[in-house]
Amino acid sequence: MSNSAKITISCRINQRPCSFETYPMTRLIDLIRDDEHFTGTKEGCGEGECGACSVLMNGELVNSCLVPAVQVNGADIITIEGIIRENKFSALQEAFVDFGGVQCGICTPGMVMATVYLLGKNPNPTEAEIREAIAGNICRCTGYTKIFEAIQHACGKLGALQ
């Protein structure tokens, strides 16, 4: 089987300008983890079902396992590391710990990204809106209640701050 030509992709990941020589259908998650070593982004399913690989692309929440490199050129990507660096969401991270919303931790970066996206659109979400916001994120450990409570608590705090 013959290989196609590699292409050059330029984008920003967590504010850092990046350039990749890669195949057009390489997944964004592989650029993030293998090339840039931002290993906070996790791979659960590789097919859009679990949300562990969630990142922000041009401000929109996306599953990085479903985005091909060829569509990343010029994009602005924020991963969980970029969120941590901002400090703005430390109350959210603390709430995850305080409420027992983190067990094995594989789903956590995606849950946090989905919540950050929600709060960006809607600082004071209702219970139903929180559930809808994380409906695409699967957790095999917590049973969701603790995650939900953590988010609810943090939304109260973060919403009040805005």
Binding site: M1, S2, N3, S4, A5, I7, Y23, P24, M25, T26, R27, G46, E47, G48, E49, G51, S54, E60, L61, V62, N63, C65, L66, V67, P68, V70, Q71, A114, Y117, E132, A133, A135, G136, N137
Partner: protein
């Protein structure tokens, strides 16, 4: 197992004209790539057979939602997020807004396009029943020109559509006839899946009813036939007989004849039929309540 990624070649034309001439020069060779939420899953499972992809991302001609007095035009690259956040679509075309909201979960809605949902032509796709109930028109383009056809005629059979190998879907057009009569239209959209998010439909139903305009009645089902299905015979029974319980029973008998559900990994034929009949009955009973409100002048 994942497909061999280096084998896939992608062209990224910058204009629609360029994209269409690529399609025309080598018909069937280049497979359009929009949001990738169907194609990347095929790639991941090693079954994306077409090794040549045409990246539509840069084609401005396929983006945007524009409003005129007569219609709303939705570019094929519009994502379900853009659709469900559009105020006018929400009020005038609520079945489509509800369908958009029921697709996948938020991160999928942010990438999945309406053109991709239509072209993928799955009988379980969630936007087609809504589009048919809203009398959508589809606009296809090729190097030789563009054509519009009624969306209800676009799907011809299992995974079979009217899209030619040198064509792209440019847009979906929704006629704003509802603007005159629509204030009383009653809309009903239900998707039944294993769970609320991220679930492929077992049954999907879009219904539309107008107490004074029987011609507005639409009964459209997804996942219960080889392709999305408008149940015209069942509509005719209601249009002829009204909404008394006897006619509703006749409509259910007719629906049993019109649907051809199958057993598959997601559900059984028996379950699909039973739920479809229940959805029809729920819809018609609610429609009857709307009608009696109108008759009472409230």
């Amino acid at each position: 197992m994942r497909g061999y990624v280096p084998a896939y070649e992608v062209k990224s034309p910058e204009t629609l004209t360029e994209a269409l001439s690529i399609l025309q020069a080598q018909p069937g060779k280049w497979k359009p790539l929009a949001g990738g939420t169907d194609l990347m899953v095929l790639l991941e499972s090693g079954v994306l057979e077409n090794r040549n992809l045409l990246n539509l991302q840069g084609l401005k001609e396929l983006t945007g939602i524009s409003v005129s007095p007569a219609e709303i035009t939705i570019g094929a690259l519009s994502t379900f997020r853009q659709i469900l956040e559009h105020d006018l679509l929400k009020t005038e075309f609520p079945l489509l807004a509800a369908a958009a909201r029921s697709i996948g979960a938020i991160a999928i809605q942010n990438r999945a396009t309406i053109g991709g949902n239509i072209a993928n032509a799955s009988p379980a796709a969630d936007s087609p029943p809504a589009l048919i109930a809203h009398d959508a028109v589809i606009e296809l383009v090729s190097s030789t020109g563009s054509r519009r056809l009624s969306y209800a005629e676009f799907h011809q059979g299992y995974k079979k559509t009217q899209l030619a190998t040198d064509e792209l879907i440019r847009a979906i057009i929704l006629p704003r006839t509802q603007a005159d009569t629509g204030s009383n239209d009653f809309f009903f959209y239900r998707k039944v899946g294993t769970r609320k998010a991220q679930a492929i439909s077992k049954i999907c139903f879009a219904g539309r009813f107008h107490p004074c305009s029987p011609g507005n009645l639409r009964l459209v089902f997804g996942s219960v036939a080889p392709t999305v299905l408008r149940c015209i015979q069942t509509e005719a029974i209601i249009q002829g007989g009204g909404l008394d319980l006897k006619t509703i029973q006749k409509a259910k008998d007719s629906l049993t004849r019109e649907l051809s559900p199958i057993d598959d990994i997601r559900s059984t034929a028996e379950y699909r039929l039973r739920v479809s009949l229940n959805l029809l009955e729920d819809f018609l009973i609610l429609a009857r309540q709307k009608q009696s409100h109108v008759e009472l002048g409230s």
